[in-house]
């Protein structure tokens, strides 16, 4: 199985390292032709405005939407914003996931935080019981899930920070910045 990581801007190399560490072939995607032969795609953390503008400039929007109809895509942080139908601001979005996101929902960088999350679906999929340590950086929240999209994880105050819609996955946080590969394993199971 070969997984692509959108390499327009952001921490794509961290995702690639994590995929390689669990024995998955991973390649950088910068142009539409790089999607050929992939089983799934990760859209990394970074700046969603930068990623969106570069995707528009290099005619990636429609190919990515087409890819998402029949393949697994996972967006982390900026990637989650890019996957959403509604980010409440005027910037290019793929609109693949029926979720509403709020950018920079926790404030500025000094408010960025790490915390443990109990994610039942992840525990079930991985056969583990320990919490998931999540790193949030100028993170968005998933303000609402609609239609077929469902919440996977939430903070104690109920704010949604991970969602899934079929083979599409969105997380507000950055599994690629940790050494815990359970989320990457989970995504591979959606792509396989």
């Amino acid at each position: 199985m070969k997984i692509g990581v959108l390499a327009l801007q952001g921490d794509f190399s961290e995702h690639i390292s994590m995929l390689k560490s669990i024995g998955v072939e991973a390649v950088e995607v910068r142009l539409p032709k790089h999607l050929d032969g992939l089983s799934g795609l990760i859209i990394p953390g970074g700046e969603s405005t930068t990623i969106g503008k570069l995707a528009v400039a290099y005619d990636l929007m429609e190919p990515l939407r087409e890819f998402g109809k029949s393949h697994a895509i996972w967006g982390t942080c900026a990637g989650a914003i890019f996957l959403s139908k509604d980010a409440k601001v005027n910037q290019p979005l793929l609109g693949l996931m029926d979720i509403t996101v709020q950018r920079n929902a926790f404030g500025r960088q000094v408010d960025s935080f790490e915390t443990d999350l109990d994610i039942e679906e992840l525990k079930k999929a991985s056969g583990t019981t320990h919490p998931y340590h999540a790193v949030f950086i100028r993170a968005p929240i998933i303000e609402a899930v609609h239609g077929q999209a469902k919440a996977l994880a939430a903070l104690e105050d109920g704010r949604i920070v991970a969602a899934r819609e079929g083979r599409l996955l969105a997380t507000s946080f950055h599994p690629e910045l940790t050494s815990d590969a359970r989320f990457h394993q989970y995504f591979i199971s959606l792509a396989g």
């Binding site: 700046e47 570069l54 601001v89 000094v110 960025s112």
Partner: protein
Amino acid sequence: MEQKTGTWTEKKGLAQMLKGGVIMDVVTPEHAKIAEDAGACAVMALERVPADIRANGGVARMSDPDLILKIMDAVTIPVMAKCRIGHFVEAQILEAIGVDYIDESEVLTPADESNHILKHNFKVPFVCGCRNLGEALRRVGEGAAMIRTKGEAGTGDVVEAVRHARTVLGEIRRLITMADEELMAYAKEIGAPYELVKETKELGRMPVVNFAAGGVATPADAALMMQLGVDGVFVGSGIFKSGDPAKRAAAIVKAVTHYKDAGILAEVSKNLGEPMVGRNVSQMPEGEKIAGRGW
């Protein structure tokens, strides 16, 4: 569950999100908007770009917090701001107004000629300049969560940026080949903390994100730095001192993403208008160079 802020992972992590991107110097909210629209991954808010700091002379200090706040209001991308080397009160002020990253910068007039800021004391992350691996790892030892090679700011001449990037990356390549028992002597030689020398060898790269800065003026300059092996690029005077800032800014963003694709680099290099008027560093008196500031 408990939420921890200001951790090393958080500080380093934001820099990781900036990788493969361009951080642009801006002096007004309108500039900031142009930079964001062009695809900048962050902006550096300041009163004068380095080329004007050079031209004006005098003491260069932290910018007016009101200007920085207006720039923070104008854009959704991260906003950085500069304080003087060793001026930890300027840093406290920048942290208090909520900037996302502080650049303890040699471009401003140093406030302390012996000591840099103890950056571990802050929740906000810092980026610092370096000319070699020893200087980089001393800054990381003080708590810098991101490094940029210094180059020679405000010149539009990429030669120093290349020199510093080649030096740092070359030293890392040599370090990787060293035997473990040689690391203490090497740490002593370059004046770097032993633990960070060891970590750099183990990782095979700088332990924090490493951008290039100081003299990048064209898409080709930016791609050159990327091909040399840095993680991203700061562009200071090169954009807003050029004939068509919006177009040049967008072209440099594209060049950093497609830095290995000469066809795309050729395309984005077309018809950009006048570049900034450069200053040839090799003909510049030593006293005018600023990269030597920092200890």
